[in-house]
Subunit: 213 residues, 2 copies
DNA sequence: GTCTATATTCAGATAGAC
DNA sequence: GTCTATCTGAATATAGAC
């Protein structure tokens, strides 16, 4: 049965959880197997029954992290009602991305924040997975543009990179309980889609107040 | 004279440059003094004539990094003509931030991308400096809102965090020569201030095309 | 499966010659 | 000021008992 877990599986999961948590907090190189073992309530040597090396452990954490965000955003799109507006679709994607990142987040946060400092070989294997996730976002934005909901005169690649930056960077400042994810989603959509300037600012046609004040 | 540099000063700078470059590429813990020395064209032991420890070296790199961005954004505001619009002021700040980050960038990029993984003690000392920089951005956006250029119904703190995220994350994807910093600035301002939805999308009042298509 | 003990490697840091 | 040589501690990984 799928619900049956051997003792090995349980330990494995406990180790992975501990690794994700520690990698995320301290980074890859600064994390010792001793620390991971301590968090997982074991001795360092025991980890090697489940994983062949620190790198193998790292890679599995990263894989889980990227997969979770990818799946969450993908499902958010599949679950949209047929008549949903492009605005609603984008909002759902943003919300899924942020929720997965910030709520169930050690794996996903780790996969984002330590990516730059992992061993070259592992990074190379992660790149295609990140590219696939990028492509998902590219499709979402591209479809919205094609449907006439997004301006045609913007570079969607740059928009996507800036948007994902704003979303991903939230792992550096978000404090659970302090800012609601829903409010974050609303602000992201407001900025991305409507902008936060006042009406007189929008077209830039009228003299702005401070020029006469 | 200020222009006279002792041999010691020159070596010191060479070491700092090497450290910033290596810290940025590999992260803090994964960077060895041996590597820094190699890049600086010295032996590892020689570094200790100039710095007492790896941490001292790190801290100086971080200080230089945060100071440079702070000063650049600050100067961008001081240099604005008196009649400049709030939109122009914000654009100048974004441009200064991105240019410093991406063009003269090992110190500034390092100070951003490795912050999460440095020793706790050093991080604590960096926080007030980062807060001061945050406050500068808070003033810029707050002034624009007070002047009536930004909507009153947005949470400016959240806007600032999202905006700085989009800007800071660019160190992870920007390839010099591939995307112009000017184009990035324009896209950031377009998203932040105007939004990228089409006119019928802006107020959300009209039926969006894809609902009937 | 997990433990303890340990081999091995390599990092940061120091000392003294030049 | 920079070198070479070396100390010391700690980390990954292994081996064998239980």
């Amino acid at each position: 049965m799928a619900t049956e877990q051997s003792k090995s599986d349980i330990s494995r999961t406990r180790i992975l959880d501990a690794a994700a948590k520690t990698f995320r907090q301290k980074g890859y190189a600064a994390t010792t197997l001793n620390e991971i073992a301590k968090v997982a309530d074991m001795q360092a040597g025991s980890l090697y029954y489940h994983f062949n090396s620190k790198d193998e452990l790292l890679e599995e954490v990263l894989d889980i992290g990227i997969n979770r965000v990818h799946e969450a955003v993908e499902e958010s799109q599949e679950n949209m009602p047929a008549g949903a507006s492009q605005r609603e679709r984008i909002r759902a994607a943003v919300d899924a991305h942020l929720t997965t990142l910030l709520k169930h987040g050690d794996y996903t946060s780790a996969s984002i924040s330590i990516f730059a400092q992992i061993p070259e070989e592992i990074r190379q294997r992660q790149i295609p997975k990140r590219d696939a996730f990028s492509a998902l976002w590219r499709r979402i934005l591209g479809r919205a543009q094609k449907a006439g909901a997004l301006r045609n005169d913007v570079n969607l690649s740059m928009v996507r990179l800036l948007l994902l930056g704003a979303l991903n960077w939230s792992v550096e400042w978000h404090k659970p309980g302090k800012t609601s994810i829903h409010a974050m989603t609303e602000h992201v959509c407001l900025m991305l889609l409507d902008g936060i300037s006042t009406e007189e600012g929008i077209r830039g046609a009228e003299v702005e107040r401070e020029e006469v004040a």
